[in-house]
């Protein structure tokens, strides 16, 4: 049984995304704790990458700030070790395939298991390439999260059948970033997913307001929010934990 399923037990899951090391790792740690205290159900921790091709300008800038601050994969592992002293809700890493590959896939994924990371979200690893890390993820009990996009169409069933942990449904075309309106027919996508798996699905990309989140809770099992949180962190810097906490509370 996936540890991630705890996040969806008898409730809709709110999943905040936080870029580790933006503005610094101490603040990231405080932000995660504030998010957990205010009801976050699953934490998506971003390991920064120099060239995040699936991100819009807001998260791109967060990646650059974090890397300029000297964050490395090893320092992010240490952050998770600290957080796991007292936080027991599921946590997953979101990063790019090269960060895992370059570290040594087995070393990276075995450390995930050791420090209590439950899943791995890699936006540049589609179904066709998942065998790159699939066997190691199984071996070390780390869920490799699958994406479904508005363009997936005939691919939805195939992806859903093999999904683990949760399914990340991309709400709109394009890259991450807040949107005033989400036009994709998400209900139809979720319907096909449901016909093929019991793995919960959460919707991300473009969500920023409580109204949008609640709409997603009606359609799916959870909502993922990244850019809206990064904007708060960009604005308040070291003082952002309090504001992120308030925001998370408003999104539940």
């Amino acid at each position: 049984m996936s540890k991630i399923s705890k996040a969806f037990e008898n409730k809709k899951a709110f999943i905040p995304f936080i870029t580790c090391g933006d503005p610094d790792l101490e603040t990231t740690e405080a932000i995660v704790r504030a998010a957990v205290e205010n009801g976050a159900d699953l934490i998506e921790l971003g390991i920064p990458f120099s060239d995040p091709t699936a991100e819009g300008p807001v998260i791109q800038a967060a990646n650059i700030r974090a890397l300029n601050g000297g964050v490395t994969t090893d320092k992010v592992f240490d952050l998770v070790r600290d957080l796991r002293q007292d936080i027991d809700i599921p946590m997953v890493f979101m990063t790019y395939a090269n960060v895992v590959f370059s570290y040594g896939a087995e070393k990276f994924i075995s450390i995930c298991n050791e420090i209590g990371i439950d899943g791995l979200i890699l936006p540049d690893l589609p179904y066709e390439e998942k065998e790159e890390f699939q066997a190691l993820c199984k071996q070390y009990d780390v869920d490799l999260i699958s994406f479904i996009a508005p363009t997936s169409e005939n691919r939805i069933a195939m992806i859903a059948k093999e999904a683990e942990g949760f399914i990340y449904i991309v709400s709109s075309l394009g890259v991450t970033g807040t949107r005033s309106e989400i036009k994709t027919d998400l209900s139809s996508i979720v319907k096909v997913v449901r016909e093929n798996t019991d793995v919960p699905c959460a919707i991300g990309f473009g969500i920023s307001t409580p109204e949008q989140a609640h709409k997603m809770y009606e359609i799916a099992d959870g909502a993922i929010v990244g850019s809206a949180i990064i904007k708060i962190i960009e604005k308040y810097g070291k003082d952002s934990p309090k504001y992120v906490g308030e925001y998370v509370k408003s999104m539940k």
């Binding site: 990458f49 120099s50 060239d51 091709t53 699936a54 819009g56 300008p57 791109q60 650059i64 890397l67 490395t72 994969t73 090893d74 790019y96 395939a97 090269n98 960060v99 895992v100 590959f101 370059s102 570290y103 936006p123 540049d124 690893l125 589609p126 179904y127 066709e128 390439e129 790159e132 994406f147 479904i148 996009a149 508005p150 363009t151 997936s152 169409e153 005939n154 691919r155 992806i159 991309v170 075309l173 394009g174 890259v175």
Partner: protein
Amino acid sequence: MTNKNGRFGVHGGQYIPETLMNAVIELEEAYNHFKNDPEFNRELTELFNEYAGRPSRLYYAEKMTKDLGGAKIYLKREDLNHTGSHKINNVLGQALLAKKMGKTRLIAETGAGQHGVATATAAALMGMECVVFMGEEDTKRQALNVYRMHLLGAEVIPVKSGTATLKDAVSEAMREWTSRIEDTHYCLGSVMGPHPFPTIVRDFQSVISKEIKEQMLEKENRLPDAVIACVGGGSNAMGSFYNFIEDKDVELIGCEAAGRGIDTFETAATINTGRLGIFHGMKSYFCQDKYGQIAPVYSISAGLDYPGIGPEHAHLHDIGRAKYVPITDDEAVNAFEYLSRTEGIIPAIESAHAVAYAMKLAPTMDKDKIIVVTISGRGDKDCAAIARYRGEDIHE
């Protein structure tokens, strides 16, 4: 030589967001259909010959040969193509394919601006909309090409993210493609990115080696001993090598941009300084740090200033079929000036990297040996930058 998901040995693949998967599958299906379609090939050949000016000349560089005193040197004159470089070969192929697929808009990345100009040209010819992403740094280095693209009716978007060079232009073009797929074809300019691009671009560029072979047999009644081309992503090199891969006696040599030297951080020599990684849709060699962060590479040549190399080149390197040598800025600038003075041919600074290696290699070879150097583009665009490199402050 590709297998499942476009692998060349361990290299290649399709490491892209799910949002783009159906787009690349659709592209692959369309390409597999049209590449064997006589009507498509007739149209493409007509565009190559009547519009782009193919076949390009294979010119015996007699003065250079005599001056260097070794192997006989032939220049494959891709610089004489319409738009001034080999980029037009791939672009005409992809634009025609996109049009057959019902796409009405082309997007492209560009480094030196040659691929952007070629794409803008094809879009103008075929009545398509065109948007070109170009690193802000490169829009300054290659202001003339920005103007040419505007003149041809394209929109040029300066990319400010990252190092504001070619890699960032590729990232931004990929981001744009995920946001608008229905009417848009991403006209990738090199033998890189996710499958099927490395194969498609190589096939359209392979006309270079097909012609070299025919022309060489006609002129010398034999194959050359070595084929030399510059390598950034590697499209003119792949095109120059492809039809010689099975001819094991023909040495294939790619010239990478070493920038200020491969022992410095200011280099773009991927095979010589990079290691295996996954980026921009492919597994290949990349300049990167120990945590997999892509390195901010440098070369005087905007077209070679890229931290990766196409997957088929990575494979040819692995199996020892081609070798990849580093050429510094200084060596390339010297070759740029040398070819201008010796043969009256001003090569692109990218192509000058290949000329530089020929200058080293030819004197070590016997006079009955033959080298072909691909002059991938013309050097007019580089004159102001090279003048500045030599301390002459001229502006376009």
